[in-house]
Structure formats: structure tokens, C-alpha cells
Amino acid sequence: MAFLTSEDILFHFFAAAIVVSALLVVFVSNPIYSALFLALTMSILSIFFFMLHAPFVAVAQLTVYAGAVMVLFIMVVMLFDLKREHEEVVKFSPVMIAKVTSAALLCGFLIGVGWLGVNATQVNAATVLAPQVEAKDLDKSHGIPVMGPVNPDEDLTAAEEANFVDSKDQVKKEAALEKVEIKLPPDEFGSTASLSKKLFSKYVFAFEAVSLLLLVAIVGSVALAKSKGGTHHVSR
């Protein structure tokens, strides 16, 4: 038996939304639309962080990425009034070679990751499920181990009940009551207090390093603007 929770529905909806949004970033020709879709992608990413029990990271993502970095991007696009991309004539040039090479590398990377991922899950599934599936079920299912009864309208037999191992183990016990109590992690999981506990004890050097990094960025941006004549002191 599988249960479709609202969390699953929301996850799949937002997963589709974020993939579409990210693809549109690349495929629309108007740079403002591109930037706005990227901002949308960042915002949906924050929802994912929320679903992963990381509310502080979700809020930080929304504040910094969607609220600051993307605003900068959009302001830059508006300030420099970038025009739509022109259709480029496909001609043999270094740029063309670079584009093709990077596209090929990306495809290779994706295929490699996918191959590794599929192999890993097959290994896990085989070791976890094999001891629990009886021989007669293997015949019915044509050698592929399945979770739960092969015929979905049947309920589990007593023997299968005892052996049924699911990722949500308590589900089989409470399913009889028609009431599903999905156990959530304890409140402290992913709370900001536990984040702080780690941040200020174990990762304190990283924390101080971040402040130095920010200082470098501040000095660098002012220096960059000055060199381009941005601050009034120079441009007067």
C-alpha cells in the first residue's frame, strides 16, 4: 500500500515548476524575462528548503538570493538596456567550438551521474527487499522484487505483514485504523537554535572567515566602482 500525501503532491508540483522555470531562464530570448525566471527559480528553491526541514536556510535563500542577488541582476539588465539576443549564424568559430564542447561535456556529465544513480538504487533495492520476498511472489512478479502485494487489491497476508519492511515502518501498523500518523522529526531538527549551536562551536572559524570574505567583497566592490569612475569623488 502506498500513501500519497499532500507533501508528495506539492513536491512534484514544485519540482516540475522549478525545472520548467530553470529551463525557461536559458531558453527565453529577452534578458529581463530570463532574470525574472531565475528569481522565480530561487524562490521555489526556498520552498524546497522549507520542505527539507531547514526553515532558516529557506528564509536566508529568499532574502539573499531572491531578494538581493536577483534584484542586482535585474537592475544591471535594466541599467544596461540589454537587447534581445540576435539569431546567430551558425558558423565555424572558436565560440562555436566552445559551445559544442561544453554542451557535450554537460551531456556526458548527466549521463554519468544518471548511470551511477541507477546502479546505486538497484543495489540497495536488491539487498533490502530480497530477503523479504517469498519465492512464489517472485514468480508472479517475473523476477523483479516488489514492495507489498503484487495484486494491489489484495491485502497483505499475515506472513507478508510480518515481513513487510517499508521506509515508513509504522504505516503498516496504523493502516488498519485508517489513520495515518506520519512521524515527523523532532522539533529541534533543522531549527535555528540547533543551527546556531553548530555554527558557533564547531564551525566558528568558517563563520569568522565568512566575515573576512564579506569585507574583501566590500572593499573590492568599492575599488571596482572607483576605478570605473562610479563614486562621485572621482567623477566630479
Binding site: V64, F200, V204, L215, T231
Partner: protein
């Protein structure tokens, strides 16, 4: 954790629905569109506008946005510190010293920006 967010998503849907309904009401109920040239040109206090979008915009908008990002990140780091500060003080003075060091660096950054005339006349 999504349970905390679900009402907000519902609210988002309600707001978008409201906006769409209101705009379509305007389409339905408004008079027929009659775009005359006088109505269509960009508004410039009654005079005919000059050439658009060739003005060079000042870089200080860009600089403000960059500095905003950096100081916003600083504020983000201050949030988790603030809520555990009183609690962690019981364990010793380190929590105070850590943040003091962090703030010293960033105050120096603010000082540099100020004296470097990056905040002037914006």
C-alpha cells in the same frame, strides 16, 4: 515543515486569483479600447518626449545593490546568533567574542565604504 507553509501557498493562490479576476473584470466592463496616439506616448508632463533609453545611468545604483547584498548577508548571520545569545552566555563568553570579531570586520567595511565616498549623493 511543509505544513507550516501550506496556508501561505493557499493564500498565494487566493491573491493571484483575486488579481486575475479583477483584471479580467476590467477587460469585460471597461469601454472598448481606443488607442489614440496621444494616449499611447510615454507621459512626460504634457510635452512630447525626447529620445528614449539612451541616457547613461549612474553606477551608484549598482554599487548600492552590491553593498546591500553584502550587508544583508551580515544581517542573516546575525539572526541565528541573536536568538541563542542569552542562552549560550551561560556557557561562557565565547559567543560574545565571536560575534564581536565578526562585527568588527564588518564595521570596518562600513567605515571603508563611508570614507571611500561610495555612499555619497545617492
Amino acid at each position: 515543515m511543509i505544513q507550516q507553509l501550506a496556508p501561505i501557498l493557499v493564500l498565494g493562490v487566493v491573491v493571484i486569483g483575486f488579481a486575475v479576476v479583477m483584471l479580467s473584470l476590467t477587460f469585460i466592463a471597461g469601454p472598448t479600447r481606443n488607442p489614440t496616439p496621444e494616449k499611447q506616448i510615454p507621459y512626460e508632463c504634457g510635452v512630447i518626449g525626447t529620445d528614449m533609453r539612451t541616457t547613461k545611468f549612474p553606477v551608484k545604483f549598482y554599487l548600492t545593490a552590491i553593498l546591500f547584498i553584502l550587508f544583508d548577508i551580515e544581517v542573516i548571520f546575525l539572526y541565528p546568533w541573536a536568538i541563542v545569545y542569552i542562552d549560550f552566555l551561560k556557557k561562557g563568553p565565547f559567543i560574545f567574542i565571536e560575534m564581536a570579531v565578526f562585527m568588527v570586520f564588518l564595521t570596518f567595511g562600513l567605515f571603508y565604504v563611508w570614507k571611500g565616498h561610495a555612499l555619497d549623493w545617492d
